[in-house]
């Protein structure tokens, strides 16, 4: 199980995955907007998305848990 935490604060622009989805390494899970820059977060491993803790439009903070993927 990998927990993907946010590197920076910002706002959630797009969430491209939901619990139950099968993902491959490098698939974009969600995109954060930080300082007018879209920052994609990619799956670090192949597996199943178990939980998504963010929603589009959320104002988020550094270190916040975003997505959990199980291998």
């Amino acid at each position: 199980m990998i927990k993907i935490e946010l590197e920076t604060g910002g706002s959630v622009w797009q969430v491209l995955t939901k619990p139950g989805d099968r993902v491959e390494v490098g698939d974009t899970l969600f995109i954060l907007e930080v300082m007018k820059m879209e920052v994609p977060y990619e799956a670090p491993l192949a597996g199943e998305v178990v939980a998504v803790h963010i929603a589009e439009g959320d104002a988020v903070e550094e270190g916040q848990l975003a997505v959990e993927v199980s291998d």
């Binding site: 590197e7 920076t8 930080v34 300082m35 007018k36 820059m37 879209e38 920052v39 994609p40």
Partner: protein, 526 residues
Amino acid sequence: MAELEYDTQMNWKIETDEIARRRKLALKQGGADAIAKHHSKGRLTIRERIEKLLDPGSFEEVGPSAGAAHHAESGELIGFDPANFVLGFGKIEGRRIVIGGEDFTMKGGSPSLAGLRKSVYAEELAVQYKVPLVRLHEGSGGSVGGPSGKSPSLPGPVNAPARFRSVAEAMATVPVATAALGAVAGLPAGRLVASHFSVMSKATAQILTAGPAVVARAMGEKKTKEELGGWKVHTKNGTVDNGAEDEAECLSEIRRFLSFMPDNIEQLAPVIGCDDPVERADEALLDIVPRDRRRAFDMRRIIQSVFDQTSFFEMGAGYGRSQITGLARLNGQPVGVWANNCKFLAGSMTADGAHKARRFMELCETFSLPIISLVDEPGFMIGSQAEREATIRHGTSAVLTAAMTTVPWASVMIRRSFGVAQAAHYGPEGFVLAWPSAESGPLPVEGGVAVAFQREIAAAPDPEARRRELEEELAARQSPFPRAEALGVHDLIDPRQTRLELCRWVDRVQSLLPALLGPTRFTVRP
């Protein structure tokens, strides 16, 4: 019989025996129990650390006889406490260094009288012999009882040499690399950060200006050593450059760092053979920067592609994360690498990012390393937090440091190059290349439009739509070709040719490097 007596009187066997005995006793360090306790916490002793770091059999100890001897009333030697700082010369990859570290198994590394003398001597030796200095720290500073644990002796005279002069001198003369391998507090913590590269073991180290007991007494704050000064604190605030999993990884990071360094400021960094072709063109660079200006890209991927394969050694990845700094090689030549990371706060110049960049430039200047800058700088970080952190002061410090460097610079405009902050990414008389994705100006289109067209936007029927329209209009005007036509850059290049162009440049600047050797106008300060 008479002849035997004569021999005993004339030779020095009694003394040489005692020397051997003292040596043997010194190697016992704090004793079997103290060493076992140390091992049980997953930590190596200072002698084991030194042995692990150095080429086999290369350690030549300095001052092994320093310490305190204990005698029976008869005068017979019954014990010997060695100085609790082990010091000496040794070799890494055949190159000589000075190495030292506190012995935690004796008085928890808090300096004994002889230990203090040896520890102070480390920097002086490195400067005298002009070889790199490695310190492996685990210990605390002085105690109120004084160095020998007894009542304080006479204070030092006013005309004693400045205690930290040699520490500063070492930083200006030879590469200094340090590791925190256990709890490091007080003076040793100060010496840990007085280095060009520092690394801490996540498994075993804490770094503390003062430990939990002192903090509780003075501040009323109850924290563990780990909470006060564990890796989660200090790899993110820049106290140490790198965090490593354990002691072994700390030592290999130090070996790696030193592989890029000359022995001292009078020498050039060692160029090694390179089997990565200079013509290697990576197709991935053609589309690594998205045409959509708002999409981030992976700068570390570009670094890995452009420099000699697997040569990039990142320093300070955990703090000032909008900036990436490290060492790498181009066709075997060691270079400093500085790049923006647009995935972190858009790659903007934050206060801590600027501090990291300044130290990086100082390192390159001190040891005459050419600097390669991969630019994607949107400007100083803005907003109330950035103002509170004095971003403009730290950022300007980086800008002026760049302006004062004398080492050769090659800057590649990867994407954005804006504001005052961008000036930090270009050295005097630097070589400048631009990718087709390069954009530059006083400030990025987005911020600029909001200010310059404020009234027009406000008056529009749909202000938001008009703002976007203006932004797109202006962005479209940012063609890379006029810059090249005006010789505003040395060349506009196909990104796939970046490695070749930089390797050629590195070859050209070889003739400039010897003149840079010797003391620099400024050096590295922690």
